[in-house]
Amino acid sequence: MLQSDLTALWLTIKLAFITAVLLLVFCIPLAYKLAGYNGKFKPFLEALIAMPLVLPPTLLGFYLLVLFSPDHAFGQFWFWLTGTQLAFSFQGVVIGSLFYSLPFVMQPLVAGFKHINQTYNEAAIALGLSPFKRFVHLIIPLLKPSIGSAFALGFAHTLGEFGLVLMIGGNIQGQTQVVSIALYDHVESLNYTAAHQLSLILLAISFACLVLLFKFNKSIVGVKQ
C-alpha cells in the first residue's frame, strides 16, 4: 500500500468522523424544532434541507469555490477570522461535507423526533414533566437509535464524497486528498492495481458502517431488550 494511500484513508476517516459529529451537534436541536413545527413554511424548509440530495456534488463544489474565494464576502470573513483560506484546506472540505451530508443526518433525526413526539412526548407533558427533564431523560434516550442511524449514514456518505472535494480540494496530500480522489488519480493514470487495492479497503469500511447502521435501525426508538 502506498504511503499516500494510507494518508488518504486516514484523512477520509477523519473527515467523515468530524463531519458526522458536527452535523449531529447542529442537527439535533434543529430536527427537534422542525419535527414540532407545522407551519406553512414547513415544505420549504424540508425541501431546503433535502437539496444536497438532488444537487450534483460538482455543482455544490463549484458554488463553494465561489463562496470561499477571497474575492467574496464569506471568503474574506474567514480570512479575517482565521488568517487562512478555506479552499484547498481540510477545514474547507469539512464545510463542504457539512452541506453534502446534511440531509443524511437530518432526516433520521427528524423521523425519530416525529415518532417520539407523536407517541411519548405528549404523554410526558401530560404527566407534568418539565421541558428540560423531558428532553434529557426521555427524548434523548429514546432518540439513541436515530442518533446512531444519523451518525452512521452521515459517516458512510462522507466516506464516499467525491465531486465536491474534487472541485474545492486541490488534491493536496494530507489535507484534501481523500480516498475517492486518490482512487480517481490511480484510475486516471491507469494505475489499476493500486485503484483496486484502495477500492477494496473503502468498500470494506463502508460496508462495516452500513452493517452497524442496520443493527441500530431495528427500532426507530430506544427499546429495552
Binding site: L65, V66, F68, S69, P70, D71, H72, G75, Q85, A87, F88, L166, M167, G170, N171, I172, Y184, D185, V187, E188, S189, L190
Partner: protein, 250 residues
C-alpha cells in the same frame, strides 16, 4: 374515451417511429473529445460544418474516454489531450496507426490576474495524468523558487477555475482557456498573462485516432482531414494552440 386515446397514441407512436427511421442524409459520427478541446471543436465546426457529417461530441477526461473505448464504447474518433493514450490504443489494437494525427499542441501561460498575490499557492493541472500538468510542473520546477505549494486541478480547465475564482493567485493555465474567457466576457483580467517560451517545457502533444471498430471510415477521415486543414490549423492558433509542422506521429 379509451378507444380515442388508444387511437391517438397509435398515431403518435407511428410518427415517432417514422421520424427516427427517417433516412438521414447526414451520417452521424461519434467523437470522443478531451474536455478542454470540446468548446474549441464546437467553435470550429460551427464556423465550417462538415457536409454530410453530423458530429456528436462526448467530452470527458482523456483517461475516462480511453477506458471507455477499451471497454467497447461506440466511438468513431478519439481526440485526446495527450499523445500517450492514442498511442496506447494503437498498440493494443483498438485504433489505426495510419489515422494518427497531431491536431494541436497545447500552449501554457503564466496567469496572475491581480498584482498582489492572495497566497503563495500555484495552480496547475495534476501532473500524474495531465500532459498540461506535467509540462507545468516541469516549467515551475525549473523557474520558481522552491518549495512550491501546488494546488492540483484535475485537469487544466480546473486549474484555470482556481485562479479565475480568486482562490489561487497564480496558475499555469492553457492559453486557449484565457482566450475563450476573454472572448466571452471581455474582462481585462483574462489578458494579464505571459505566454511561456515553448522551449522551456515539454511539448503538450494532443493527438487523435480513428477507432478500429468504426463503421464510418469515410466520415471519420473527413473529420481528421478537416482538423489538419490549413484553415483549421490557423484558427487553432487564434484560439490559443500551437500547431505541428507535419502530420507524422511522434
Amino acid at each position: 374515451m379509451s378507444k380515442l386515446y388508444n387511437t391517438w397514441l397509435g398515431y403518435f407512436l407511428c410518427v415517432i417511429c417514422m421520424l427516427s427511421c427517417s433516412v438521414n442524409a447526414k451520417e452521424t459520427l461519434q467523437v470522443a473529445v478531451a474536455s478542454n478541446f470540446k468548446t474549441v471543436l464546437e467553435t470550429l465546426l460551427k464556423k465550417s460544418p462538415l457536409p454530410n457529417v453530423d458530429v456528436k461530441i462526448s467530452a470527458a477526461s482523456s483517461g475516462v474516454l480511453y477506458s471507455q473505448i477499451v471497454h467497447g464504447a461506440p466511438f468513431d474518433v478519439f481526440l485526446s489531450a495527450d499523445d500517450f493514450r492514442p498511442q496506447s490504443l494503437i498498440k493494443e489494437g483498438y485504433a489505426e496507426q495510419s489515422s494518427l494525427i497531431t491536431y494541436a499542441l497545447g500552449e501554457l501561460a503564466l496567469w496572475q490576474p491581480k498584482a498582489e498575490k492572495v497566497n503563495d499557492k500555484v495552480a496547475i493541472a495534476n501532473p500524474r495524468f495531465s500532459p498540461y500538468g506535467r509540462a507545468s510542473e516541469y516549467y515551475a520546477n525549473n523557474h520558481f523558487k522552491k518549495p512550491i505549494n501546488y494546488v492540483y486541478g484535475n485537469n487544466i480547465t480546473h486549474a484555470f477555475q482556481f485562479v479565475q475564482s480568486g482562490n489561487v493567485g497564480v496558475g499555469l493555465v492553457a492559453v486557449s482557456s484565457l482566450k475563450a474567457a476573454y472572448s466571452n466576457t471581455q474582462d481585462q483580467k483574462y489578458l494579464e498573462y505571459t505566454v511561456l517560451p515553448t522551449n522551456q517545457y515539454p511539448d503538450i502533444i494532443q493527438q487523435g485516432v480513428i477507432i478500429s471498430s468504426t463503421k464510418k471510415h469515410a466520415s471519420a477521415k473527413q473529420l481528421m482531414q478537416f482538423l489538419m486543414a490549413e484553415a483549421t490549423q490557423q484558427q487553432l492558433i487564434e484560439l490559443g494552440y500551437r500547431i505541428k509542422d507535419n502530420n507524422a506521429s511522434k
